[in-house]
Amino acid sequence: MSARSHARAGDVAWGRMTKVNGELFALTYGAMVKRLLEDHSEIDEVNEHLEKMGYNIGIRLVDEFLAKSGLPPCSGFVETAEVVAKVAFRMFLGVTADVTGWNPEGTVFSLLLADNPLAEFVELPRQYRTLSYSNILCGVLRGALEMIQYRVEVQFVRDVLRGDDVNELRVELKEIMNEEMSEEYKED
């Protein structure tokens, strides 16, 4: 599928989704993050908690994705990345991401997100500068991709809330989980 048809598929799928007010979403997330910061003394614990939370969400969202995206199965990890960026992000967050920064092996890529609906109107106080505010997205991706047999690790490497000019999620394929594992991905 071409880039343009992925984008179109994203718009069509977005049209099918029941939607809620974006502020409500962002504010609920913010209220929750605030509580987590109060409950945990270490910011890293909060980052980890957000990621695990995202995982719980991602494994559930994927069913709806498969049902409503209207797409045939992807031809591989590279196409999966495009579909995540142009269709999945659009369907669930209303925004699209750009895929970039592939490594030569085709196992690591970046998602660039210009608009982050979770972080609308958020400012991070200095004491929270190690907080990966939107870390839940990393978990969502990890959970969703795991359900389609890709075990990945996702890191928020650049964050507008921390002063970077763009949001960047780095996705690294660790293992393709299927019966016939190719040599490259076999665990030893």
């Binding site: 502020e23 609920t28 209220a31 929750m32 669930f92 967050l93 209303g94």
Partner: protein, 169 residues
């Protein structure tokens, strides 16, 4: 009255709902009381407080709020119509008042309870309580930012129909 329409961003409802349920889990996780009743009260308070934050800040960014007067009835009507519509996809069905500081908002088909469908098992009922505690917090937060101090509680008549009672302090 004129003004640019507020451009509203949106996200998928399913994502929001899953997020809301994770928020409830956060509220439950750090409560360490052994006694189930005390636990339930603490969890309720935490969920309501999260809702309060949401409601308070939601009003902050509502442009149409600036056009309102100060009378509690007018402000609560605003909540029933504009805020309800923005949050719950429809306006509240009915507003009653005794004109002595008590208001009852009725929603026969409360949007957030609809997803429970016909489920009435204990965890569905628990979830419905969390949902309403969160909604009460949102209302109380919104009203506080509109200048009204209140206590807000909800009662389920029969899922998905419920009432929210606002007692102005």
């Amino acid at each position: 009255m004129s003004g640019a329409p507020e451009i509203e961003s949106s996200v998928a409802e399913s994502f929001f709902e899953l997020l809301m349920f994770e928020a409830f889990r956060v509220a439950k996780d750090s409560v360490s009381s052994e006694d189930p009743e005390a636990r339930a009260q603490l969890v309720k308070g935490r969920i309501e407080a999260m809702g309060f934050d949401v409601g308070y800040r939601k009003i902050e960014r509502s442009a149409s709020v600036k056009l309102l007067g100060r009378h509690p009835l007018e402000l609560i009507k605003f909540v029933c119509k504009d805020l309800w519509l923005s949050l719950f996809q429809k306006q509240a069905d009915r507003l009653q008042t005794n004109h002595r500081g008590m208001f009852v908002l009725n929603d026969g088909n409360f949007h957030w309870l609809k997803r429970l469908g016909k489920r009435r098992d204990p965890s569905a009922l628990e979830l419905s309580e969390h949902i309403l505690d969160f909604a009460c917090g949102i209302l109380r937060g919104a009203l506080t930012n509109l200048g009204i101090q209140s206590a807000v509680y909800a009662e389920i008549k029969e899922i998905p129909s419920c009432t929210f009672t606002v007692k102005v302090k």
